[in-house]
Subunit: 454 residues, 2 copies
């Protein structure tokens, strides 16, 4: 077992398990009971003791228990929780107009123009939707229609979304989630256990094998879809550039390269887009989570060529996609990222975090690898053996001890033994130092208690 058990066989990293019978804060306990009576059975909570949230500002969440929690996990409120620029923009737009794109309205055009300046020149058209899942789903439809092929290549621990088509390319959802017959998976990139000069060549070989598989199944290659920071595969960032040869290979096979930038996009990795680190230009780019700081908006950006056939021959209309209030939020986010220099900030504070984590890892033999780019960081916990055997129980204990200490992070990766640290972008050097210091203390206690338990 490498994840926390929840209900009926579903395993989710850092999931709350009611069966553990943890005593909750009375307000949280009461809310949880009410919640269980009305929300569908899919809903899951984070942490051994779920966090009941009252309000949030910047990088801080205020709990119903009156405590403040440093948010080092949420990438949706990218420019900080409850940012006044988003509130002001959305409020002004709500007072004025909120309709759809079958009428001509100016905000969606203004924003599209601004957004596209952040992309390499061939990426010159954008289609708006509401969620990353919708944009991935549209990317799949677009790529299939464009290429005439149906085969898709993803990593074996990929997560790309919740629609039927997105879930079919999301093996990380577990054994009960069917993977499509037209899907070929490649091994997760595993930079902790792979010599740096072998990361690219091994990936290239596995993509070549996947192409052969899809050809053998008679479906061809419509696209390879890769999260540019490989979030659910445990955060795989180095050596930057390892993706470049893969793109050429997929193009030769007649497929498109779809960059899933839902996680790395909008400055997270210290660049505007994760694919930039690899020196490549995608055919289609999927944007989501941080785009509107939590106001639902997503987008598919692409070359004219990649979108032309589907766009001109198949009807697609997303009622809420690109509506003026979502656009107002997205426009405010873009402005704040620019005016506050958050891309550069993510690079600088991210590097301080990476160095700090590396320094901590040097002190604890069970901290087996540190990875990341910008403010997307990962620390593996496991055995100091040749296989760096992952230790998901230790990861769960550390995540929950951090929560007790007032800092929210989570666990991720194929073995759920990777600490995932991904704060709102305004995370300061002071916040970083507080996190590093607290993590140091938690690891000291938790690795000792582990040893003691043996």
């Amino acid at each position: 077992m490498n994840t926390t058990p929840t209900q009926s066989g579903i395993h989710m990293a850092n999931g709350f398990d009611p069966a553990e019978g943890v005593a909750l804060d009375p307000a949280a306990e009461q809310l949880l009971r009410r919640r269980d009576r009305v929300l569908g059975p899919s809903y899951r909570l984070f942490y051994r003791e779920p966090v009941a949230v009252e309000s949030a500002k910047g990088v801080w969440l205020r709990g119903m228990d009156g405590r403040d929690y440093l948010d080092a996990y949420n990438n949706v409120p990218a420019i900080g929780h409850s940012h006044p620029a988003v509130t002001a923009a959305v409020t002004a737009q709500l007072e004025r107009l909120n309709t759809h794109t079958r009428y001509l309205t100016e905000p969606v055009v203004d924003y599209a123009e601004r957004l596209l300046t952040k992309f390499p020149a061939p990426l010159e058209r954008v289609t708006f939707a509401c969620t990353g899942s919708e944009a991935i789903d549209l990317a799949i439809r677009t790529a299939r229609y464009q290429t005439g092929n149906t085969g898709l290549i993803v990593t074996e621990h990929a997560y790309h979304g919740t629609t039927l088509a997105a879930a079919e390319i999301s093996p990380s959802l577990g054994p009960n989630n069917p993977i499509g017959a037209h899907v070929a998976t490649i091994p997760s990139i595993d930079t902790a256990r792979t010599p740096a000069d072998q990361v690219g060549p091994r990936l290239l070989e596995s993509v070549r094998a996947a192409i052969q598989q899809l050809d053998a199944r008679g479906v061809g290659v419509a696209a390879i879809i890769l999260d540019s920071i490989f979030s659910s595969d445990g955060v795989q960032a180095e050596p930057a550039g390892f993706l470049a040869p893969v793109v050429d290979l997929v193009h030769e096979a007649g497929g498109l390269y779809i960059a899933d930038e839902v996680q790395p996009g909008f400055g997270r990795t210290g660049r505007w887009w994760g694919f930039e680190r690899h020196g490549i230009s995608p055919d289609l780019v999927v944007l989501g989570k941080p785009m509107g700081n939590g106001v639902p908006i997503s987008a598919l950006v692409g070359t004219v060529e990649a979108q032309q056939r589907f766009g001109s021959e198949v009807r697609y209309f997303n009622t809420f996609g690109g509506n003026p209030i979502s656009i107002a939020a997205a426009s405010a986010v873009l402005s704040v990222i620019e005016s506050d220099g958050l891309v550069e900030h993510a690079a600088v504070v991210g590097e301080r975090m990476r160095a700090g984590l590396a320094s901590i890892a040097a002190s604890y033999e069970r901290a087996t690898d540190v990875r990341g780019a910008g403010l997307f960081l990962a620390l593996d916990l496991g055995e100091p053996d040749a296989a760096l055997t992952p230790d998901p129980e230790l990861a769960a204990r550390v995540v929950n001890a951090m929560r007790e200490a007032g800092i929210l992070i989570s666990a991720s990766g194929p073995a759920a033994a990777t600490l995932k640290i991904r704060p709102p972008l305004p995370f300061s050097e002071e916040n970083a130092d507080f996190l590093l210091e607290t993590l140091d203390g938690v690891l000291a206690r938790e690795t000792r208690s582990r040893a003691g338990a043996r």
Copy 2:
């Protein structure tokens, strides 16, 4: 040809066709050029001369041309454009907190409790998403997992959404949109051409045949999915009750009944939900468009039984689904519908509209049928022959003449010859009378000019 040609073979009722070379207002013309340079090729506009919108309030849109347009088409701003209750609720929430459902927050629970009181008792759990398409997609996944079957039954001119799985059950998207191999279509209900006592029996027979087809294909019946007001099938409302035997038949075959309430839900038909008119209770109900008055939110409401297997065995998490700001909007919408008595209002003004349209139809032999429920109304235009041969060109002329006269409606139905009238719910008796009077004048001119042209 029964619809307006747009680009490269796509036909869409009431679509703008740049090839017609209509002279536009200069501001609109300039915005259109900018738009075409940045938005994806899927985007389409309404009307021969697209409407460029500056602002909106209540049931009125203000154009960039300085004119006011009476909105008799948009069901998303259900409680009226720019409603101050939505603005206030969303603004207050944006200032305080916007996070996701893996933390405990109170608004989503409060709203779920309130929403579920509007449903029959067995419908007691709700899962939130962002768009009707996402909720339909989740309903499909849920029904398939629950029943172990994959077959789906829909009408031959159904529209259920834009994700790959939703588009596969949306034949109204046209010939380039592939319909799934597990989909059986039944003929559109056509109450204008069917004796009232035959509507139910014919539907039942076609569903029986569809079940046999799916059994013969070896896929079984996972669900029948029906828009309770049959919007894209031309608005089919009477005789109320015709759906009841169908539900029993599908249940006997092992399938679920999914009510698509994206169009009729939240009071549109003069009842809270369209399915109520048929005296039935669905297994799953899909909610969307009007739910947040334009702030993206949707939901899947269902029985515990229908949702249990998928919910407990498959991971599903929608990042923006049920987020506090979407919930704030939805909660304000529910309050206003209740406090302003909009369900009853829709019934009363809708009946005035229906009677007025029937009176108009009595004066014009080319107005061949009037249908509807509450504030969802339809008027067919066609030949006064035995087949009531539809006249989509006349419908397009009437829709555009109404736009010229300052009233926004559209055309719909399998032949695109049905005027679709579906205003925000606060549409007043005065608004109704203005629309009826204007339509009378337009029909007088357009049916005469048609006769003259022959």
